[in-house]
Each structure stands twice: as C-alpha cells, then as structure tokens.
C-alpha cells in the first residue's frame, strides 16, 4: 500500500521546496519515497543532489529518496504517442492545430503529473509518493485534469462538426446545416474547417485509452492525503479556500495547510520599545504583519476545518536535504483530516 501525498497551492508559494521537504522527512522514517515534480528550480535539484532532469525516478543523495522530474513541454506529445494509433499520432504531432492546443491547454501538465503518480502507485515499489502538483488556475486543476482533457477532446465541437454518429467518413461533416457552421465557414473559410475536423478526428482516437486511464487516476485521487501550501498573499489564500469548495467527491478533504513565509507569531504581542528610531518603527510594521497573518490563519482554519502549520519566513534557499527536512513542522505528517495534531495557529 502506497501513501500518496498531493501538495497543492498557487504558483510561487514554495510548493516544490516543501514537497521535497515532506519527501525527505518521509524517507528519514525509513519509507521508500518518490517525489514527483514539474520543472523544478535548478536550486532544488541541487539541494537533492541531482544534476539533470529525468522522467524516470533517480536516486537522490538522501537514502530512501528518489525523484522524478517532469518536463512540462513533453506532455501532449506523450498523450498522442501513448493513446493514439501510430498513424494518427504522427499526423497529430505535425498538425498546427495540435501544436496550438498543446500550448494553450496547461491541464496537460497536471494530467502528466497525475498519470505519472498513478503509474508509480500501481508499480507498488514505493511506501510513499509525494506529488508536487503543477501550478494551476484555482488550485484544483491537478484533480480535474483527466475530466478536463476528456471534455476537450470529446466535447461539443466535434459533435457540432461531425454530427452525433462519430465513426465513418472523415469528410461527412455537414457544414451547410448548422447555422453556426455557416457563420464559421463564412468567417474562417472551409479549408480551415476541414483541417480542423481532420485534427479532431485524429485526437478523437485517443479517447478510449484516455478514458480507461482517467478512471485509474481518479481511483488514486480518492485516497490521497492532501497538503495545501499558501502564503499571506491574496491569490494563494483564495486558491486554498477554493480547494475545499471544489473537491468534494473527487478527493479527500485537505489534511493540513502549510502557511509559508510566516512572521514569528509572538512578535504581535511583544512590548514595543519606546521611541521612533528606524528599528523600532520597523518592528511595529512587522508586528502588524504578524497580527494580520494570525487573523488569516484563524480564518483558514475555521473555514476549511483543517489544521494550519506555519513555516518560518527566511531568505536563503535550502542548501541540502537537512535544510529541506528542517522546513517541515513537527507533527505535520502525523495530523490528519480527523484531528490529530491541531496545527499551530
């Protein structure tokens, strides 16, 4: 049985670093651990003792810890090669529409991470898998990627262009019938519509493979332990709140919230020395920030009914696995959705 930890949150909150920290801590309890991450900063690779980015798990300098680093650009090519018949895959990779859709639809990164997660869980050789989920709109894309991808491929456009009965002639679309097609034809030209329909037919060949795979991925989602990373900034806070609202039924409720870049909470209550020297004026500012952060954490804990742990604000990046491990609050990995550790609001 593999424990899967999904670390979610807005971009730039320190998700990748904290995922690595969680993975180091798990490895240090003797569990064979894999951390999956997308496009990590070079410094993180160095902190784990890795020199290159590799899709397949690589051993790190930490005993019991392996890392897979996904290259975000390859995801759509992977999907085409894995799920489409060879001739369709070739046509797809050379198609201008395919290139454009691939650029615009970032859910493919999330899908690639989810797919890798599922493969590694099914492989059975890990005690723990930690997924550093790709940055996404709204913070939940990692969990909705399989259905978003299928909706795109199997969606209303193909039905509009080809009629309800999909199989059969590639040229059977009737663009004099639907009023929208008359408009589209007039604006875009029929050559473009024919190219586009070709592309959609080829893309459609991936549906059966993707559907089966998505079901396997969604089974893994249902039992993951979810850690949300946020800072005191409005966007990550909004995404953390979104998480609880959007996920019921898809995955477990969040396990814990990691509140990164926390100002020492006790600063709020220190007696401020008299005077208006720059240091004192400065300390008053930090004290107001400490108070604001405490209020934000309380609000998060109340609204999500989830323990909130703080990670102290510090400037230098982690230099090695000891630094990574030190970032993770004690008690984080023991707490669960049903209570356990209360966090440290």
């Amino acid at each position: 049985m593999t424990d899967v930890f999904c670390v979610t949150g807005a971009g730039g909150v320190g998700k990748t670093t904290l995922s690595a920290g969680v993975a180091v801590r798990l490895a240090r309890t003797g569990q064979r651990t894999l951390v999956i991450t997308v496009d990590p900063a070079r410094r993180l690779g160095q902190a784990l003792g890795l020199t290159d980015i590799a899709h397949d798990p690589r051993a790190t300098t930490e005993p019991n810890l392996w890392a897979s680093m996904l290259d975000a650009r390859g995801s759509w090519e992977d999907i085409a090669r894995r799920y489409a018949p060879a001739d369709s895959a070739e046509r797809l990779l050379g198609n201008a529409f395919f290139q454009a859709v691939a650029r615009r639809f970032p859910a493919s990164q999330s899908y690639a991470a989810a797919d890798t997660m599922t493969r590694e869980v099914q492989d059975g050789r890990w005690d723990a898998v930690v997924v550093d989920t790709p940055p996404s709109a709204g913070g939940v894309e990692f969990f909705t990627a399989p259905r978003d991808l299928l909706a795109l491929i199997n969606g209303p456009l193909l039905r509009a262009l080809t009629g309800a009965g999909i199989p059969g002639s590639r040229t059977a679309f009737r663009f004099t019938v639907a009023p929208f097609l008359r408009i589209a034809d007039g604006i875009l030209g029929s050559a473009v519509l024919e190219d586009l329909t070709e592309f959609l037919f080829d893309l459609r060949t991936t549906v059966d493979g993707l559907t089966a795979r998505s079901q396997a991925i969604e089974r893994v989602y249902r039992s993951t332990r979810n850690l949300i990373v946020t800072t005191a900034d409005p966007m990550p806070l909004g995404e953390a709140l979104n998480f609880a609202n959007l996920l019921p039924g898809l995955t477990s409720p969040p396990d814990s919230i990691l509140f990164n870049r926390a100002v020492p909470p006790q600063w709020e209550h220190e007696t401020i020395p008299p005077g208006d020297s720059p240091e004192v004026v400065n300390f008053r500012l930090w004290a107001t920030e400490a108070a604001r952060q405490r209020w934000l954490r309380q609000d998060l804990r109340d609204r999500l009914r989830t323990p909130v742990h703080t990670v102290a604000w510090a400037s230098p990046g982690p230099a090695g696995t000891d630094d990574l491990a030190r970032l993770i609050p004690n008690g984080l990995l023991e707490s669960g959705p049903d209570g356990g550790h209360p966090g440290d609001v």
Binding site: P156, L157, V192, D233, P234, Q266, E270, S277, E279
Partner: protein, 273 residues
C-alpha cells in the same frame, strides 16, 4: 489612446499594480479604463467595485473598469464579421462557435485582443490587467498565428490591422517580485516579447523590503526583525538587479483592504512615473 498590458507571474500583484496605474493616471486628469482580460480576478476590488461587468463601471478616483466576457465578445465579433444576416439571438450557435474558438488556435485570443483595442478609441489610456506571463505570448502572437492559418479574407485583414495597432499604441509592463522564480519568468517573458508586436514598457518590482540603516546590537525581537528584514532585503536586491531598472514598490505590512493597497501603490508610483 494608449493600451498598457500589465502581466507577470501569477500572484505577484498584477491586479493591484494595474489598478494603481489606472488611479494614478485618472488623478492626473486622464480618461482611464482598467480592463481585466480574464473574468473573476482581483481588479474590481482594487478599484472599489464589487463586481466588474462587460461594460465599464465607475470606480474610485474617476477610473472605470470592465472585464472581457468571452462569449459576449465573441458574439459582438461574429455580428461584426458575419457574411450572412444573423438571427436576433445567436445562443446555441455562439456556444458552438465558442467551442470552435477553443480548438482553433488564436481565434479566442484574437477576439479578446480585438475587443480591447476596438474599445480603446473611447479612452486616453487603457490599463489591461492581463493574463499571466505564461499565456500573454499566445494572445499577442494570435493575430500573426491567424494570418498563417487563414491567409486571406476579412479575418486576415483584421489580424493585420491588429498587429499594427499593437505595435504602435500598446506596451507591455511586467510586475514581479525579487525572488528566483518570478524574476526568471520575467526574464523569459521579456525575451519572448522581442518576437511579438508590442514593445516592452516598465518592470515593476512589487513587495520590496528595503535594507535598514542600522541593525540594533541588542534588543531581542527588534533585532531579530531587523536581521530578517536585512537578509530578505539583500536577497531581493540581488534578484532585482537582474531585471531592467524600474519602480520599486514596497511590501505593505499588515495591509488587507484592496482599495487602500492600490492607493498606497499609486502614491509610490507617482514618484516614479
């Protein structure tokens, strides 16, 4: 008219800076509208508006704000460009066309950019709370992509006109934070912009902590706070040096009210612009 796109990595404070720019120019007497390229962002709150709609609403300091509604903009576009007479209501056809625009590269982006530039004629300045850096390129490249796919006809003509408008009356500003990932992403975006019609404007470095004149030798938490600030400030200064010099916006300790935040940023900006 001037159109200023304000982009940056997600979460760096794009909306706040866009609203601050709008307030600054409105206070100086210009007719300014702030436009959100995507719905449901933070721009409205920073202008003192509870919601933004597809048509401009009056915000603080004489600013106006609206957001681009994809389907409404698409319907406008289709009515403007359709070669055949259209029914009064397009409902289902527009939804199907919207699905087409999702798959056909550049169409949706072209419509959004086209809508912003089309409406810009009514204003002295349009401040666009733009999509994040990762997506901005596909919007600004859309007219050229469309010309490649559809070489002739009315869409191609419109695309050519848009490229000219972008080149002559738009600029792209970036908002960043002086940390590794936002700075790296900003540098990549500046590089990508060289191949696009809109020229680079200003790089705004947000949430900056400045070094203190002295560190107290003793004093418990006062010293600790000074040391934390000092080390963050040094770290930030090193990252800030990598981007073109521009306005340095302060970290706003303890601030939560979006209208107050855009006001404080506008005051700082008035010293730079």
């Amino acid at each position: 008219m001037r159109v200023e796109f304000v982009s940056g990595k997600g979460g760096v404070g794009k909306s706040a800076v866009a609203a601050a720019l709008a307030r600054l120019h409105a206070r100086r007497g210009e007719r300014v509208v702030a436009a959100a390229m995507l719905p449901n962002g933070g721009l409205g709150a920073h202008l003192g508006l509870t919601t933004l709609g597809p048509t401009p609403l009056a915000g603080v300091d004489g600013t106006f704000g609206f957001e681009v509604h994809r389907v409404a903009a698409l319907e406008e576009y289709v009515r403007l460009h359709s070669p055949v007479p259209l029914l009064a209501r397009l409902g289902g056809a527009i939804r199907a066309f919207d699905a087409l625009a999702t798959a056909a590269p550049g169409v949706r982006e072209l419509i959004t950019i086209g809508k912003i530039l089309h409406d810009a004629g009514d204003w002295d300045r349009v401040i666009v709370d733009a999509v994040p850096t990762g997506q901005l390129g596909s919007y600004l490249a859309a007219p050229d992509v469309i010309r490649g796919l559809i070489p002739s006809g009315r869409v191609a003509e419109q695309a050519t006109r848009l490229i000219g408008d972008l080149r002559h009356s738009s600029t792209v500003h970036f908002v960043t934070i002086a940390e590794e990932l936002p700075i790296t992403e900003t540098l990549e975006a500046i590089e990508e912009l060289k191949g696009l019609p809109s020229p680079l404007g200003t790089v705004f470095v947000n949430r900056t902590l400045l070094p203190l004149p002295t560190i107290p030798p003793t004093g418990g938490p006062v010293r600790e706070a000074a040391l934390l600030q000092q080390s963050l400030a040094e770290h930030q200064a090193a990252w800030r040096a990598r981007v073109p010099p521009g306005p340095v916006l302060p970290f706003l300790f303890g601030a939560t009210d979006p209208v107050l935040i855009s006001d404080m940023l506008a005051v700082t900006l008035s010293e730079w612009l």
